[in-house]
């Protein structure tokens, strides 16, 4: 039983890392008021570029960097439309997803079936990995998972306890007021959109270098959309994003575990639905009752222009 718990936990954490990284990125973007629904497209682009760079160079660091950067660059396209042109952010984000799907499916074809150049295997952390159960669950993972462990508190600290974080949150609440205070709204929004893309790109790199090495068409399988739901579930807080992502990973692990053991306590279809149901539940919970303590940034999705 304990053994089962250890491997369910291990698979749950492994399955949650991509969603977690993408969620962190999207939280940063949305905190500055930029809604980017292009996460799925950026993840795919990151996955493809990481796999391609891996095959071309065989260097894990370059491969991760290429995937991450590719996500960031694609996000800048959204930044241009959303910040500079002030178009509808929902449409621009959706376009980014469609663009990412189409472009990666087209450009990725020569890479299908080629042996992956880089495989980031699980690396047990000396000492920690030997802790019973906990060690198996958390400390026998891919190096990128460890990176995610570090990024969560950093991201939280950055948003809530630094001057830059304060500016980001202020821009997301009331861009005009921040502008009046002499802070460059455009620069902050571009920066945060870019950071959001980096998160999604890194998430894609995790999938194509670590989870199932090699490029496969539409390999993200909707995890980008889960990340967007998880931002709301986490009420725009990086620490709570861990809970959301782990929940998603846990459900992924459990749906197969139940079948494998032969007791389907909860139908797999229900388990698949659960992250979205819970997100809706959270949205309802934070929006009924007095105040909106856990609500999203007030200026989320609202373009800023000096002419008003």
């Amino acid at each position: 039983m304990i053994e089962d718990l250890a491997f369910i936990g291990q698979i749950a954490v492994k399955s949650s890392i991509a969603v977690l990284l993408a969620t962190l990125g999207e939280i940063v973007a949305e905190r500055s008021g930029i809604l980017n629904l292009g996460v799925e497209g950026m993840m795919l682009t990151g996955a493809l570029c990481a796999a391609a760079a891996g095959i071309a160079t065989g260097n894990p660091i370059l491969a991760v960097a290429a995937g991450t950067l590719a996500g960031g660059l694609l996000a800048l396209v959204h930044g241009f439309f959303a910040v500079t042109l002030r178009v509808n952010q929902v449409l621009s984000g959706l376009a980014l997803t469609l663009l990412g799907m189409g472009v990666t499916s087209f450009l990725g074809r020569p890479l299908i079936g080629i042996a992956p150049g880089v495989r980031l295997r699980a690396v047990p952390i000396p000492g920690l990995a030997d802790i019973p159960v906990i060690g198996d669950i958390f400390f026998r993972q891919s190096p990128l998972a460890y990176l995610a462990y570090v990024l969560v508190p950093l991201c939280w600290y950055w948003i809530f306890h630094t001057g830059t974080g304060l500016k980001i949150r202020a821009v997301g609440e009331d861009a005009a007021a921040v502008d009046a205070a002499g802070i460059d709204v455009f620069r902050i929004r571009y920066l945060c959109t870019f950071a959001g893309g980096l998160g999604a790109g890194l998430a894609g790199a995790y999938l194509s270098l670590s989870y199932t090495p090699g490029w496969k068409e539409s390999m993200t399988g909707g995890q980008g959309w889960v990340a967007i739901a998880m931002v709301i579930f986490a009420t725009w807080n990086p620490l709570r994003a861990v809970v959301g992502a782990f929940l998603f990973g846990g459900l992924t692990a459990l749906q197969f575990y139940f079948q494998a053991v032969g007791v389907e306590l909860v139908p797999a279809y229900v388990l698949k639905m659960l992250p979205y149901l819970l997100t809706i539940a959270v949205m309802i919970l934070v929006n009924v009752g007095p105040g909106r303590r856990f609500g999203g940034p007030a200026a989320l999705g609202v373009p800023f222009s000096r002419e008003g």
Binding site: D4, F7, Q10, I11, K14, S15, F81, L85, R86, V87, N88, L91, S92, L94, A95, L98, L99, M101, G102, V103, S105, F106, R109, I112, G113, A115, P116, R121, L207, Y211, T212, G214, K216, E217, M219, T220, G221, Q223, T252, A253, F256, Y257, Q259, A260, V261, G262, E264, P267, A268, S305
Partner: protein, 372 residues
């Protein structure tokens, strides 16, 4: 900037991107005119490493055999919603024989066949026919049976299967594999009576690389001694190899696609069917009907064995294969019991093709159920 304009700009952007996706699949046509024109609609891309790659190998074989007498075109990623348009397009361009290569192409193909009585239509894996539309399929379960037999002879008695969609084709394959597995175990002297030797977990998709990996890893963690791939992509086999557990490939040769631990794969071989059908149309002898060939007509082949498969096992498996090649298919011969021990095929009888094509029960020895 005014709202309507930005909205319009965004819309144009989206449509442009959607266009990119729709044209993601390539079309390919050879020029020349008096030759017989052959068209294929494919489910996914020709390099999907599974179902569509197998069909593409069939197309290549066809070109190799009859290349100077025919003109071949194909369209990738023909999903159900788009299928009728693709078929109608080929019909209007005067193709002589049009193939729909996945189950979902059945009704669209039938609709177009009714409007073009002079064109021959062929559908893969369905059950509907018309005077000018036949169907064809390959008896994959025979290859799965042999793979199971091999695994049994090697003593694997706790197999984990990454199953796809709970419909008759995979169910038939699971049963054939399990029947072979039990036979092999018995001959190898393992007493597997009453044991659940093959655990199945449903992916509920034909391909889903991420979940195939997760599922295979779950089965490995559950201490299954052999992972059996059924999905179109080799990822479950690859994941098993990475975890140090042998695998069995499906559809294409998994060992060629990174699963170097695959003991054997059963492979679709559509080429001979395509050559036959096209030749019949050429000679005017084509008739509608249902075609279902196995090893007897070389529509299924077995990959090379992995180096670790003992010589004695290979000989036994190949002897069994010889029987199938000679048309002696007794895989589903009674007595066969379902999981609850109910007699499904009595002694002295054999499941008919109709029974096989509508199979919705799992044989004794399988752990897992068919979701509703």
């Amino acid at each position: 900037m005014n709202r309507k304009r930005t909205f319009a700009v965004s819309l144009v952007l989206m449509i442009a991107c959607a266009g990119l996706i729709l044209t993601g699949g390539a079309s390919n046509a050879d020029a020349a005119s008096p030759k017989l024109k052959v068209a294929f609609a494919l489910l996914w891309t020709i390099d999907d490493q599974g179902w569509t790659t197998a069909h593409y190998h069939g197309i290549e074989y066809l070109k190799e055999k009859l290349g100077d007498k025919i003109e071949v075109s194909y369209t990738e990623k023909v999903l159900a919603a788009d299928a009728e348009r693709v078929f109608r397009n080929y019909a209007q361009q005067g193709y002589d024989i049009i193939f729909g290569t996945t189950f979902e192409h059945m009704d669209p193909l039938l609709n177009v066949a009714k409007d073009y009585p002079d064109i021959v239509f062929e559908h893969c894996s369905g059950f509907k026919t018309a005077p000018n539309m036949g169907n064809y399929f390959a008896r994959m379960y025979q290859g799965e049976y042999l793979a199971g037999y091999m695994a049994g002879l090697m003593g694997f008695h706790n197999v984990g299967t990454v199953a796809t969609n709970p419909i008759p084709e995979p169910i038939r394959g699971i049963n054939a594999f399990t029947i072979g597995l039990l036979k092999g175990l018995k001959e190898a002297g393992h007493d597997a009576k009453g044991d659940k030797v093959n655990t199945i977990v449903w992916l509920k998709a034909w391909r889903d690389p991420i979940n195939e990996t997760t599922l295979a890893e779950t089965l490995v963690a559950r201490k299954h001694d052999l992972i059996r791939q059924m999905a179109d992509t080799p990822d479950s086999s690859v994941a098993a190899c990475a975890a140090g557990v042998p695998a069995i490939g499906y559809g294409e040769d998994a060992a060629r696609y990174g699963a170097d631990c695959a003991l054997v794969s059963s492979i679709w071989n559509w080429g001979p069917i395509y050559v036959d059908k096209v030749q019949q149309v050429m000679e005017g002898t084509w008739k509608t009907g249902e075609y279902w060939g196995g090893f007897d007509r070389n529509n299924i082949v077995l990959s090379d064995f992995h180096a670790s498969v003992p010589e004695a096992v290979r000989e036994k498996v190949l002897a069994e294969k010889k029987k199938l090649e000679a048309g002696e298919d007794d895989i589903f011969a009674g007595p066969l019991y379902d999981q609850q021990g109910k007699l499904m095929v009595p002694e002295g009888q054999k499941a008919s093709d109709k029974d096989l094509l509508t199979m919705r029960w799992l044989v004794k020895g399988v752990s897992g159920s068919i979701p509703q």
